[in-house]
Amino acid sequence: MWRRIYRWLDERYQLQALVEFMSHKYVPMHRHTIWYYFGGVSLFLFLVQVTTGILLLMYYRVGEDASYESVRFIMSQVRFGWLIRSIHSWGANLMILTVFIHMFSVYFTRAYRKPRELTWVSGFLLLVLALFFGFTGYLLPWNQLAFFATRVGTEIVGSVPAIGHELVRILRGGEEVSGATLARFFGLHVALLPGIFTILLTLHLLFIQRQGIAEPESWAGRPESEKRRMPFFPNFLLRDLLLWLIVLNVLAFLAVFYPWELGPKADPFAPAPPGIKPEWYFLFMYQTLKILPAKVFFLEGEFVGVLFFTLGGLLWMTVPFWEGRLGKYRNEIAHLIGWIVLVYIATMTLWGFRS
């Protein structure tokens, strides 16, 4: 019966060509093969986010008087609501973690080099979008932490000279973080960002399908017989699926044993609670802003921070385009830059966590 369906489809859509294409896809096998799995895991976690996000949408209501109450309703009244919300929150964190791991593994294996420059750029943009997803989604339960995180996060944009204030108003939908901000962030989180993300993700995956998976640089010039490979379909895919299952278990474990709290409702007239901190993936930026003095030469401290991260991000995104000009020691310099960035992010995150 399956065979008949396949034949029926193949006759109309020439599936055989696709199967042929997939059977020629190989994954290089070497001591760093493990890092190839993190892209797939990130993709899986994105799918988990889409699924749980759609489920949350069925009960979530947006508004100053509705958001907090609806999330509380989901967590206390809806069957398995606590689970779905917890998985969505944990999934977001795990996805950003795996995307970071994926990015650094691509960086250190130098897989961003020609001809994969645009795969790198699209991947970096996907990470930025994932951070925006995190930032906009964080406000939606309209709790105290969310309120201050958004107040601070949007205020940072205000340090941009000349247009800063107007940008903050556009982001917030007014002068203050209010119901108008909730409506905007909701729209961004469930419509605009998923739209852009899906387009970029499709491109990212298309690039990978078209060019194949990057081989280690040490393979260049080696005879074919010395290169070990495994077929993508089904060997790699089945291993990837097994990992997806493990990740789903980890997610379920976290959601069940460490359920995501809701905390008190946002109150625009209450002082910020002691010990308030952003999510771990923003901690390195938070800690940098915290230790910057009010004035750096003639510039405001927070503007210097914003400038530092914007320029740093741009340099990181464009690394495949300028790294080739570093000359004889390009490998060593690129390696060193990677470590500096990684150590900086790790140190600042730990410092922010402990302070």
């Binding site: 201050f148 601070v152 556009i170 002082p271 910020a272 308030i276 009010a294 004035k295």
Partner: protein, 144 residues
């Protein structure tokens, strides 16, 4: 004019048309996402409570229209008020009775009881407001 052919002229005209078309689509969208300015009634004074509601060496965030204001009663019993929005990144500040200072929990900014930024990242002092005690009632007012 030299170099301008009929074709390049038409191309230029078409290009201009496309730019005009895109602008006419984008302009209303950009205008739409900029929130309209809602005129706010300028408050002169707000009654925030009775004198006895505020213990000496304590502080509380009170409403001044749409604005949060930190009202402090010092250990000597006099009142002070400042806008409660931190000048660093707009968190809401609080009074720390143990330090007798104004503190922002978000980035550890500190202000003295004159609202002057004395430690941490805040770049400017807090804006002071006037507190008037009339009989038993405490009023916050913006007029100097």
């Amino acid at each position: 004019m030299r170099g301008v052919t009929r074709r390049s002229f038409i191309d230029w005209l078409l290009g201009l048309g496309i730019v005009g078309w895109i602008s006419s689509v984008l302009y209303p969208i950009i205008q739409y996402i900029i929130p309209p300015r809602v005129p706010e009634a300028r408050l002169s004074a707000v009654k925030v409570g009775k004198v006895d509601d505020f213990e000496p060496n304590s502080g509380r965030v009170v409403r001044f229209g749409n604005e949060p204001v930190l009202l402090i009663r010092t250990e000597f019993g006099d009142f002070k008020a400042f806008t409660a929005t931190c000048t660093h990144l707009a968190c809401i500040v609080q009074y720390r009775p143990d330090w007798k200072l104004i503190w922002c929990a978000c980035h550890n900014g500190r202000f003295d009881l004159n609202g002057i930024n004395i430690a941490g990242p805040p770049p400017r002092p807090l804006e002071p407001l006037k507190v008037v005690v009339r009989g038993d009632d405490v009023y916050v007012t913006r007029e100097a």
